[in-house]
Structures are given as C-alpha cells and as structure tokens.
C-alpha cells in the first residue's frame, strides 16, 4: 500500500511544479487534520474492552438518538432542496430589487454562532413566541418536538444548497434553454427536462453537505428540541451527556456509530451524484 503511494509518478505533462512536495504536504495535512482524529475515534471505543462496546450497543436510548439525528437531518435537507432551488433561481434569474441583500443574508447561518440560532428559534417558535403562539392555536407545536429540530436544521442547511447550485445555474449557457424553446419545449418542459437535470449533481452535493451538517449539528438544535430521551434527543447531545456522566466508552461508541453511519450516508450521496452527473462532469460516464 505504502509502496503503491510512493510509486505514484506525476503525469509527464503535469504543469504543477514540485509534485513530491505537493503530494507529501497533502498527505501530511490530510493525515494530521482528518485521518488522525478519525483513527483515534475508531480505535478508542475498543480500548475499554469488548464488553463496554457490547453494553453500549444494547443502549436503546442511543439508537433512538441516532434515529432522531439521521431522520431529522434527512427530512430537513430534503425540504431544503426545493426551497433552496427556488431561492437560487430567484437570486440568479430574477432581477429583484434588493437581491444583493438577500444574497448576503443567505450566508448568515454560516456566520452566526449556532447557539444564538438555537436560542432565537426557540424564542420564535416557543409557546409564547411570535410564530409559536399562533401555531399553537392551530394545534401545531414546533418547539420541543422533532418538527423543531427539522426547522433548526433547515435554517443551518439552506446555504449549502444555495451555494452549491448557484455557480452552476449562473454558468448554464443560455443557448441550451433557447435551443429547447426553438425545438418546441414549453417553459415548464425546458426547466424540467433541460435546466433541472443540469443542476442535479450540484443539488445532490448541496443535499449531501446539508445532510452531513444536520447530522453533526448541535448548538442550534438543543435549545429548540426539548431533548427528551427517546423522542427529541439528538445523538451529538447524547455524546455530551455521556461525557458528563464520565461514561467515555458510551460516548465514544455513539461517536463511532455516528461516524460509520455518516460515512455510509455520504457514500450513498456520492454514488447518487455520480449517477445523476452522467455526461455533465468530465470523467463520469
């Protein structure tokens, strides 16, 4: 394996100078920043012995938390797809007054501390909040329910979709749409058959990013979720709870499962992306 890596040679016409330097700095960097912590995470749970791990794996509360995390992240990312596409379309294609302001606002969820987001949403959707109160009259409870978690994750996930799709939509050659129109396609057919398929790989990427962020999201969720074990407790919170109980084996086994499940999900997203990218991205056929 190591030999295989070391025997890598630059393509003869590669214009990038310092191939070795580039390769080794990349390996070192990825190793230190990404691989080392992940390896520690994979190794650590087994250090307490197999018993601790099996005990952790029989913990129903943990599986409930994992389920809450994955299901809410998935739903939030899924809802964000049409919303994000519509928003991107408006930003790129519609000459709205004030679209620059909207454009700047979209990135805010990246910038605000997630705890601030969480508290804001909890206040807004809480029983006495601006939105929570009228909704409560209609019998809809957002705060302290899984719906609340979804709302928080939609908020933090939206920019991923918009920012993934935006450059692709901007870069679409207008001639493709004109060609479709001249061939007799209605505007709906043009959007559905020509524009959206071109945006699909970027959309799936954005979905993957939003989904991944949603699984790991902590700060913005815990204030609005209510955090009832088995119902609205997310996996990252349970990790913290276990740590506070000095149950390191429990904490690391949740983390390990989160890691494995996340990797499986992201691999699935990557496969889906390859599938929809046929003909669109070089090297994908």
């Amino acid at each position: 394996m190591a030999e295989a890596i070391l025997s890598v040679r630059p393509r003869t016409s590669d214009p990038l100078p310092g191939f070795r330097l580039a390769l080794f700095s990349t390996l070192l960097w990825v190793g230190l920043i990404v691989a080392l912590p992940l390896t520690a995470l994979v190794v650590r749970p087994w250090q307490e012995g197999l018993g601790a791990m099996t005990m952790a794996l029989h913990d129903g509360r943990m599986f409930a938390a994992l389920r809450v995390s994955f299901v809410t992240a998935f739903i939030a990312a899924l809802i964000n797809v049409p919303v994000g596409l519509l928003l991107t379309w408006t930003l790129v294609r519609v000459r709205l007054p004030g679209r620059r302001i909207v454009d700047a606002l979209i990135d805010l969820p990246f910038a605000i501390p997630t705890a601030v987001t969480g508290i804001t949403l909890a206040t807004l959707y809480g029983p006495q909040g601006w939105l929570g109160k009228p909704l409560a009259h209609l019998g809809i409870n957002i705060a302290y329910s899984t719906a609340g978690i979804v709302v928080a994750l939609m908020f933090v996930g939206l920019p991923f979709i918009v920012r993934s799709v935006e450059p692709v939509l901007r870069g679409l050659p207008p001639e493709q749409e004109e060609a479709a129109g001249l061939l007799g396609a209605s505007s709906w057919q043009t959007v559905w058959r020509v524009v959206l398929p071109s945006l699909l790989p970027a959309t799936v990427s954005g979905f993957g990013l939003a989904f991944a962020r949603g699984i790991g999201e902590y700060g913005s969720v815990i204030f609005i979720a209510g955090n009832q074990p088995f119902r609205t407790e997310i996996a990252p919170l349970l990790v913290v709870v276990r740590l506070q109980e000095f149950d390191y084996a429990g904490a690391t086994s949740i983390a390990f499962l989160l890691l494995v499940a996340s990797m499986l999900c992201l691999a699935g997203v990557a496969m889906l992306r390859r599938r929809v990218a046929r003909g669109l991205i070089s090297g994908v056929n």
């Binding site: 060609a179 479709a180 129109g181 061939l183 007799g184 396609a185 071109s198 070089s282």
Partner: protein
C-alpha cells in the same frame, strides 16, 4: 417557405441610440442557401436570432411564409437552429438530444416511441454517426457534436435551417467535408438555409447568395460572381479577399495611378476626379519593362509565383502566372481589371465595365 424582412431595426438593450440592426431588408426565397457574412459585430448573428425569434426587433417587418413572425410560436416558425457552441444537452445521450423536439410534442401530436426511435436512427445515419446514439455529447469530437446539433435541429422536419458560425470550431479539413456535406443535405432535403459566418471563403464555397453586413446594415446582397465583379463598396471588395489598393485620378477617360510603374488604363467614366482602384493580386498583370519596378519572387501559392514588386518603396505582392516568369530589368503593373471607387461607391466594375451595368 420563405423569409421576408423589411426595414428591420433592433436597438441595443439599455442603449436605444445604438442600432444593432439598421433598416435591414432582405428576401430569402424558398430553397435558397444564403450566407450572412461580415466582420465581428456586423449584426449577422443578431439578424439570425431575430429570424429565429430569439431576439425581438424594435420595428420593421419580419414574415416567415407570409405570416408575421411576432404572431408565430417557435413551433409554427418551423426553423431548425444550430448554435455556435452547439448547445447540446449535456445530460442526455446523443439519441435523446436528437429526439428532444419530438419528445416535447404534446401527447396527441407526438409520434409513438417506435416511430421516434426510427426517426433517431434515420438521423444518426444521415449524420454518419450510426453507432453513437448512446454516447454523451461530452465524449464527442467537435465535428461530431456539430453534426448531432444539426440532427437535433432537423428532427422535427423544419423547412428553414439557421446556422450560426457552424464551422467555427472545426479544423480546416473537417470544415471542408462538413461544408460539402451540409450543402448536399440542403439540396437533398429542399431546405431554406441561412448561414452566419465571418469566413468569406466558406460563404463563397457553400452559399448561393451572400448578404454582406457591416455595422448593422446590409452593404450588398448578391451572388459570388456579382460581388466579385461589382462590389458595392471598397469594404465588400476587401472583405471578400486579398486586395491591392491604388489611389489615382480619372481624367479624360483614363485612370492615372498616383504611384509610378502602374500603367494608366482607359475607363468608361465621364466625370473626372479622384478615384481609387481595387484589384485582386492574381488579376494584376506584369509586363517586362526596362527601368520598371524591381520584382522579387517570395514564394508560391496554388502553383502561382508570389512576387513582391517594389514601387518606389511601397512593396505590393502579386501572383504571377508562371514560375519561370522573371523580370531581370523590372516590370510595370497593368491593373485594367481593377474596380474603381469614388467616395466609397463603385464607379466602374471589373474590366472597365460601367458600374451601372450592375
């Protein structure tokens, strides 16, 4: 199926004073093959896009088959359009690209799947790519993409074919083949074809008629022979090929060149005054003359010698008829075949025929 355009004006979006098309009138009858030629920014593509209905015009009349184009839907317009960058749908296979125009037809008009497949197969044969139906456009070469774009445009049996710089991205050899193939296709399918190109040779090779444009206007609209014999302006002459220019005056039925070693020649022009003579390098005749201009052979082209003639410091390059032609003691230039212009207008056509004969 004809296209008729009268006094068409298109103003630049955001700058109404700038005219992209300035009172353009042109008539394109059924079955003709017309090339719109001119330098970049002349308005060729703008005119083509107006005909296709892609860009609106500010005023004027544009009818397709006698019907006002503004009342026609893209489908009724019945045009196939090939874009400069081909604009193929990257996420669809070649076959899907070609069948697009049929796939989007409303249910009752749409042919059955088997019929569509048959049509795609037929078109793939037509463009000589029978085995590439399942490939994605990305994998194709420039020439193949171009033909796919053409097949896609032809799938719905349009009567008009509009092509925007269709050969621009192809290498010279492929260009020539595709050009010939396109011409035969035009004749076989009975199309009315309008081609935009900035390459005058291409236009001369393939089209029945050339519409020369400059600054949003049509300068001249004629066939190749007519353009060559009676170019409307010096620009047309220069645009269509290599040109030599000689300033001079018309006096007493003779054109008197300013520069020495160029022989005066008789012209049928009554009005004396300044004039400019334009001539193709191969139309210049050299005659040995002691004390004439020194001649040097600098190369050859099409089997002709390329000769540099030194006219008192101004070097002009002409094409001599044979390789042995050497003028040890110098030569004089005969330019009787020149077209004469005054104030940018044609005075006298090729070989001294009067411009009015046009």
């Amino acid at each position: 199926m004809s296209v008729h355009i009268e006094k068409l004006i298109r103003r630049a979006p955001g700058n109404p004073d700038r005219l992209l098309l300035d009172r353009v009138s042109v008539d394109i009858p059924d079955g003709s093959f017309v090339a719109l030629v001119g330098p970049s920014g002349a308005g060729k593509t703008t005119l083509l896009r107006s005909i296709a209905g892609l860009d609106p015009h500010s005023s004027g009349l544009l009818t397709i088959d006698g019907r006002d184009s503004s009342e026609l839907t893209p489908r009724e317009r019945n045009v196939g359009f090939v874009f400069q960058n081909y604009a193929l749908f990257q996420h669809m296979t070649v076959a899907k690209n070609i069948s697009f125009g049929l796939d989007v037809l409303p249910g009752r008009e749409r042919p059955s799947k088997a019929e569509i497949d048959g049509r795609v197969k037929e078109l793939l044969e037509l463009i000589q790519l029978p085995n590439l139906g399942n490939a994605y456009p990305q994998r194709l070469s420039g020439g193949q993409r171009q033909r796919v774009a053409l097949a896609r445009a032809l799938a719905t049996n349009p009567k008009h074919l509009l092509l925007d710089e269709p050969f621009g991205a192809l290498d010279p050899v492929v260009r020539r083949t595709v050009r010939e193939w396109l011409r035969s296709l035009h004749d076989r399918l009975g199309l009315t074809t309008i081609l935009v190109t900035h390459d005058q040779e291409e236009a001369l090779d393939v089209a029945d008629r050339l519409v020369v444009m400059q600054d949003g206007r049509i300068v001249q609209d004629a066939d190749a022979g007519e353009l060559e014999a009676h170019p409307a302006t010096p620009f047309v002459m220069e645009f269509l090929g290599e040109t030599l220019t000689f300033q001079g005056t018309v006096s007493g039925g003779l054109f008197l060149p300013e520069i020495s070693h160029v022989v005066p020649f008789p012209v049928a022009i009554d009005e004396d005054g300044p004039a400019v003579a334009l001539i193709r390098p191969h139309e210049v005749r050299l005659a040995a003359d002691a004390g004439g201009a020194p001649v040097r052979r600098i190369g050859s082209r099409y089997g002709l010698s390329r000769l540099a003639v030194d006219l008192n410091g101004r070097i002009v390059e002409v094409l001599g008829s044979s390789n042995e032609q050497i003028f040890p003691s110098g030569a004089k230039l005969h330019i009787d075949a020149a077209r004469l212009f005054r104030d940018g207008m044609l005075l006298s056509a090729k070989d001294g025929r009067h411009a009015a004969a046009a």
